[in-house]
Amino acid sequence: MTDIARAFLTSLLAEDIPKIVHEASKKDEWREAMKIEMEALEKNETWKKCILPIEKKPIGCRWFFTIKHKADGTIERYKARLVPKGYTQTYGIDYSETFSPVAKIGTIGVLFSIATNKNWPLHQFDVKNVFLHGDFKEEVYMEAPSGFSEDFQRNEVCKLKKAICGLKQSPHAWFGRFTVAMKRYGYK
């Protein structure tokens, strides 16, 4: 292992990443990271706050904490991500279609090979917050995020409007949205 790789691994192992929100809220960096995530979710109109309809059941959510490192192993930033517990969703109630294609590694290899042999450039892009572009038709309610319950009234939950990462239908919703755009450009 190279020195750089060793330094990177060591710093990964040395950092104390909280597992639960209770631990995280003791540290300023994590509280700030959670605030930033909440602001981003609100800015993107990910959900609408509403009182839970009587016959509906909300899905849970939890926080995940990660430390982003620069290539040399030093800390770039603290990141908190709110994820709905997609595994508690029920088929036919809060989701239906979930199919979404993923590129096979062999396919990627073939593309690389063609591009290299023909001297074509390989250029890469990233779609930011990709799932926020996906709309879906099911009604999904999510519990108020822990640590922010003071911003919610009793019985108030989040009615999800955007397919955030962690929902069963999110990859499918994005793929549908992307397909519509590509077809409009004339691709088949």
Partner: protein, 60 residues
């Protein structure tokens, strides 16, 4: 997302379309995709999964 093709004009047009429609980031020449590192040289490209393995070890 990677775009590959021989027609630079068409690539540019597709890129512009996508940038107008979605919030996108141009990551430049291909360096890392789905666990595959790509190094470029005059003779061609070299691909490895070094970083993927290191990340995997850190998780284990």
């Amino acid at each position: 997302m990677i775009i590959i093709g021989s027609d630079i004009e068409e690539i540019t047009q597709l890129k512009n379309n996508l940038f107008r429609e979605f919030e996108m980031k141009d990551l430049g020449g291909l360096k890392y995709l789905l666990g595959i590192e790509v190094l470029h040289s005059k003779k061609g490209i070299f691909i490895s999964q070094r970083k993927y393995i290191i990340d995997l070890l850190a998780e284990a």
